[in-house]
């Protein structure tokens, strides 16, 4: 191997990390100007509380999302029960529901003055006690329902390929099917489960919309408060930097705990159509459980949204919605394509690179998913402001070259969502046995040919998952779109913002429903692909 061959993967990884590096530099520079007196105040009255709240929230959300996602993935991938084939795709649908939408539907219908408690008090008397939805349990529940599809998707993919084999292995060891799940299938699926859990944890850390509806204080709300209310963007960036360091450390720990374990698939060949046939009460319990999750995470909120949307549609629905939807699709498509391409480069580079630099770059590149979108947006406009200034100095001329362009938007999306594409692509790379590459190279194929003829075909499942995950996430994205969009680039999420801004949640039902309906398309595509993969495997 020549030194340039060893160097170029590292450089490629660094190049992919550039958007996030630019953001981090802007955050660090800003944070240097934090007001010490304000820090003292935050230390005394704010930080301990929000740190504790954040730990409780992330811990609770990840635990519940993992339990829901893993159990449902196992049921639909390795068991047979009434409605299984319907639930296997329907359970992904909550992914199209933005967490902030789920949050406002939950509070508007289940809080004291909401339709459900009003109805129940009408039946059982005004003194009826109901558990308050605006509570820690309530916000954890909502974010867990919004997040479990990520775990479900990743776990299901792993169980579909490993599951049957795990069961066979378990059987040969004399273990029953449930022992097979806990002692073989779950340990084998660990990188994918961990990947799903990491996505849910990062999404929860970065969430502002849903926790605001619940008025639950987290690190992210503290960042917003320092910026919006204490007028100190510097202090806000300082808080964001702490969040970044914390997440970086957590991810490094996870990586270290995983150690040198390898999870390459034993073979990619035929898969026995082995499913545990659930019968009698067990079959109906499985069906009822899946139906309950589907109803709470998707069907009931969608019905509530549709009802509100129906009321406001005559006032609001017109041709603009076609434009909003087209722009949403266009941006999501561009961002998804870009993130996928960069994730492949990153995955390939970290596989080929010698030394720790490429891996460090990969970790930085994918940190953005844990950072509140608004912080990334500040980083992007600041970095591009400096770039524009530099360009004017060098080339002369007036005006803004990069700020307020689609490029700025895409930069923000890449910084935020690269992790979402990286997860499944990286999972795919890890399942390709290094011996395959050696063999391919033994046949005299160059690096590019190995990538095109070996890696990409084997990665196709992960690539499909990656592109559609980013697509759906960008459709739901709000703060980066708001802050960096060019004139006239209003999306469906921008419309939701316009409508919720003065507390008019019901009026936001129409654009929210539009996001959900538009989001169904990629989710349907994803499930169709999963089904087809399962049939042809």
């Amino acid at each position: 191997m020549t030194s340039s061959q060893r160097l170029s993967p590292t450089l490629a990884a660094i190049a992919v990390a550039l958007p996030m590096i630019a953001v981090v530099v802007a955050v660090v520079q800003g944070a240097a100007g934090a007001d010490p007196e304000l820090w003292a105040h935050l230390r005394e009255y704010v930080l301990a509380g929000v740190a504790w709240n954040t730990v409780i929230l992330v811990g609770g959300v990840v635990t519940i999302a993992m339990a829901l996602g893993t159990s449902l993935a196992w049921l639909t991938a390795a068991c047979e029960f009434p409605g299984r084939s319907f639930f296997s795709w329907a359970l992904l649908l909550p992914m199209a529901m933005p967490a902030y939408v789920l949050a406002f539907v939950a509070v508007a219908t289940l809080d004291y003055a909401g339709a459900v408690p009003v109805l129940l008090r009408g039946w059982f008397g005004p003194e009826l006690w109901l558990p308050p939805i605006r509570s820690t349990a309530g916000v954890i529940g909502v974010l867990a329902f919004a997040g479990y599809p990520y775990v479900y998707l990743m776990a299901r993919g792993a169980f579909m390929t490993h599951g049957a084999r795990a069961l066979e292995a378990a059987q040969s060891l004399g273990l029953g099917p449930w022992a097979g799940l806990f002692r073989v299938a779950i340990p084998l699926a660990r990188p994918w489960l961990a990947g799903g859990a990491a996505l849910v944890a990062m999404e929860t850390l970065a969430d502002f919309g849903a926790v605001s509806v619940f008025n639950y204080d987290t690190f992210t709300t503290a960042i917003y408060k320092a910026w919006f209310a204490l007028f100190s963007i510097e202090t806000a960036l300082g808080l964001a930097l702490i969040l970044l360091l914390f997440v970086g450390a957590a991810l490094a720990l996870e990586r270290a705990a995983r150690g040198r374990a390898r999870y390459a698939a034993s073979d990619s060949g035929a898969r026995a159509a082995l499913r545990i046939e659930l019968t009698g009460a067990r079959a109906w319990m499985a069906c009822g459980y899946a139906a309950l999750v589907f109803a709470l995470g998707f069907a009931l909120p969608a019905v509530a949204l549709a009802q509100w949307a129906w009321q406001v549609a005559p006032l609001d629905l017109d041709g603009r919605y076609v434009d909003y939807a087209l722009r949403t699709f266009g941006l999501a498509g561009m961002a998804a394509t870009l993130c996928l391409a960069l994730a492949i480069v990153l995955g390939y580079a970290t596989r080929r690179a010698a030394g720790p630099v490429a891996h460090a770059a990969a970790r930085v590149a994918t940190l953005g998913y844990a950072v509140p979108g608004a912080v990334l947006a500040v980083g992007v406009v600041t970095a591009l402001g400096a770039a524009d200034q530099a360009w004017r100095t060098i080339a002369g001329g007036e005006g803004l070259w990069l700020q307020g362009t689609v490029f700025a938007l895409l930069l923000g999306y890449v910084a935020r969502f690269l992790a979402v594409a990286h997860g499944p692509v990286q999972g795919g790379f890890e399942r390709i046995r290094p011996s395959l590459e050696e063999a391919a190279r033994g046949f005299g194929l160059g690096a590019r040919e190995v990538l095109a003829r070996l890696h990409l075909p084997l990665l196709s499942a992960g690539m499909g998952t990656a592109i559609l995950l980013v697509f759906v996430d960008v459709m739901k994205e709000m703060p980066i779109t708001l802050m960096t969009r060019p004139f006239g680039w209003d999306t469906l999420a921008v419309r939701v913002f316009e409508m919720t801004a003065e507390g008019e949640w019901e009026r936001a039902a129409l654009p929210s429903l539009a996001i959900v309906v538009a989001g169904l398309l990629p989710v349907a595509l994803l499930t169709w692909r999963m089904e087809r993969a399962a049939r042809t495997a």
């Binding site: 809080d111 605001s212 699709f329 266009g330 500040v378 196709s460 708001l482 969009r485 004139f487």
Partner: protein
């Protein structure tokens, strides 16, 4: 689905089409560019009308005040923005402190907008007034039981008071005004007495709070009046009414939605002309009416549903000083535990 690079390439090309379709529209005159925290449905119609009248394009982006300010800072001297419109005096104060707004001398604006609703240096002008006051259940509370904001901390309201989140600017500016009137120590005592009276954890919106009063979760609360205007317009029998707080002394807290001309405006003359147009009587009426607010121009009457709440004495402290005090107010809220 076997995604190969070729397909990804074709897909990418396809997805670039909307980018081309959405290219910037060109208009004849120099466009007027507005960064506005006052949202689309409250400004779009008037922006378009002004553009038609003047034969120019009015371009705008919406966002919260703080991100718009940060965008202006990052764009610096080359920002395309001519005007900044906010829904909170604190943001206008912050923008002018950051040097983003330029002084305007306009006899028309100075005559139309009362002095406490505009910057003494002319960097921003209030265009619509929102009053933050007491809302009460018409079924369980008599107006005679109400008097001041501070009195909501009395023992008689134990378990009967609802408040919105202390993270919201409207509560922060109310507390900032009280710090100016009562001093910090007394204000903190009042806030603590409110927190002790809460019937439920603070709400994330005034609308939810008003519905909680109507549903019987609490009897009194503090809200911006226009939220009730909207609910009353939908449901005339909505069992909640407005009480004007602090009428014997001090006056009811008011905030503004207002605007200022940016320091680096390309189209300064047009921006000033636009502000004067919004401040003129017929447009003032519509600008405020669309959100059930009070016109800033004192000579213009509000909507009948708003006028039905009766006249009130506003607190006459300049709304800009509220911005200056707001960080102190936020710290006070943190200490008092108003989440």
């Amino acid at each position: 689905m076997d995604l190969n690079l070729n397909r990804v390439g074709r897909l990418a090309t396809l997805l670039l089409i909307p980018l081309l379709l959405a290219g910037p529209a060109r208009a004849a005159g120099e466009p007027l560019v507005v960064y506005t925290a006052r949202k689309y449905q409250l400004v779009d119609e008037l922006f378009q009308e002004y553009g038609r009248n003047r034969g120019i394009e009015v371009k705008f982006v919406t966002d919260d005040g703080a991100p718009l300010i940060q965008r202006l800072i990052a764009e610096g001297a080359h920002s395309p923005a001519d005007l900044f419109i906010s829904v909170d005096a604190g943001d206008l104060w912050r923008a002018s402190e950051a040097g983003l707004l330029a002084p305007v001398e306009s006899p028309m604006l100075e005559a139309a907008i009362p002095a406490h609703l505009r910057d003494p240096e002319g960097r921003w002008f209030g265009l619509a007034v929102r009053a933050r006051t007491i809302a009460y259940s018409t079924e369980r509370v008599k107006p005679a039981e109400l008097s001041t904001y501070a009195a909501l901390g009395d023992a008689r309201w134990k378990g009967k008071l609802c408040l919105r989140s202390g993270k919201h600017a409207y509560n922060q500016s109310l507390v900032a005004m009280m710090i100016g009137d009562l001093g910090e120590a007394a204000t903190e005592r009042v806030v603590r007495s409110w927190i002790a009276n809460l019937a439920a954890p603070p709400f994330s919106s005034d609308t939810l709070l008003l519905k909680a009063i109507a549903a019987g979760q609490c009897d009194v609360g503090i809200v911006n009046s226009y939220y009730l205007g909207r609910l009353q317009a939908e449901t005339p029998a909505f069992p909640v009414q407005i009480f004007w707080a602090d009428q014997k002394a001090g006056g009811t807290h008011v905030n503004i939605s207002g605007g200022g001309v940016t320091t680096h405006a390309n189209n300064r003359a047009e921006a000033i002309r636009f502000l004067e147009w919004i401040a003129s009587p017929p447009i003032q009426q519509r600008f405020a009416a669309v959100n059930y607010e009070f016109p800033a121009n004192a000579g213009v009457a509000p909507l009948p549903v708003v006028a039905a709440w009766g006249k009130f004495e506003p607190n006459l402290v300049n709304v800009g000083t509220i911005g200056r005090t707001q960080p102190a107010a936020v710290r006070l809220l943190d200490r008092a535990g108003w989440r």
